[in-house]
């Protein structure tokens, strides 16, 4: 998805993992995705640069659809759709 599409996507759950470094955001994502339904979109807020590479890999392993990320001021949002 493009950045503009991601900015308007409706999010079922938002996880703020900005206070934690690798592998914290991954652990928070794993915990949070259990609470949403298949097909729902989740966003993870992170300031850990590795998250941009790790979340897509995590998604492909777990079968979730990685949608992309949006750069914010000092952090970024990563989007994924639960399988």
């Amino acid at each position: 998805m493009t950045v503009d599409e991601l900015k308007t996507v409706s999010v079922a759950k938002s996880v703020d993992a900005r206070g934690t470094a690798c592998p914290g955001p991954l652990l928070e994502a794993k915990k949070a995705i259990g609470a949403i339904k298949g097909g729902d979109v989740m966003e993870v807020l992170s300031s850990d640069e590795g998250t941009k590479q790790d979340i897509p890999k995590w998604c492909s392993k777990q079968g979730h659809e990685y949608l992309g990320f949006v750069e914010e001021n000092g952090y970024f949002k990563v989007y994924m759709k639960k399988k």
Partner: protein, 187 residues
């Protein structure tokens, strides 16, 4: 007609052979990570725990085999054990008592290094080893403690940390676990 029956029997036996091979393969290449952790250095235990947590977050089964110097990380500073002989007492005295007392493999600087490392980890929001073990327990990461090392260094089970998925085993336990794992490492 007899020819056909012979061919079917031949095919059946081939299928059975294939099924055996597939089940062998399934048992040798599981979504599992086995790590033999031998080092008792803080940095190496940290690396092992971080990778383990990331793997467990992807539902990979993680089995950590703690052996030799790594046993220091599993000592509970609040616990003591009675009835040790002289050499066991010396080991107990000389080795770090718990994961928060481990030294660094480089830049240890008589214990100043680990303090600086902990400070900078906190500043950069990296989990502490205590927190990592807590997360590991939640993610069902298994810890297997090497019985032989325990005996060699004179550590007793009553001075080992409380961890929900902790068990004791020998080298064969690791060899079998590692044989079934898609990835097996040594730290």
């Amino acid at each position: 007609m007899q020819d056909l029956e012979a061919q079917i029997a031949e095919l059946q036996s081939q299928i059975e052979t294939l099924q055996e091979k597939v089940s062998d393969l399934e048992n040798t290449n599981r979504d599992q990570l086995s790590i033999a952790i031998v080092s008792g250095d803080m940095d190496k235990i940290l690396a092992a725990m971080i990778i383990s947590l990331a793997a467990a977050a992807m539902d990979t089964k993680v089995k950590l085999f703690f052996s030799f110097w790594a046993l220091s990380a599993l000592r509970d500073p609040k616990k003591t054990a009675q009835g040790k002989d002289f050499i066991s007492k010396m080991f107990g005295f000389m080795l770090p008592k718990g994961k928060n007392k481990l030294g660094l493999s480089k830049m240890n600087m008589a214990g100043m290094g680990p303090q600086m490392m902990k400070h900078i980890m906190k500043k950069k929001n990296v989990m502490s080893l205590d927190e990592m073990f807590k997360q590991a327990a939640e993610l069902d990461i298994d810890i297997i403690v090497c019985e032989m090392s325990m005996d060699l260094m004179g550590f007793k089970k009553e001075e080992i940390i409380d961890y929900p998925h902790l068990s004791y085993g020998g080298a064969a336990t690791f060899a079998v676990d590692a044989g079934q794992s898609g990835a097996q490492w040594f730290i």
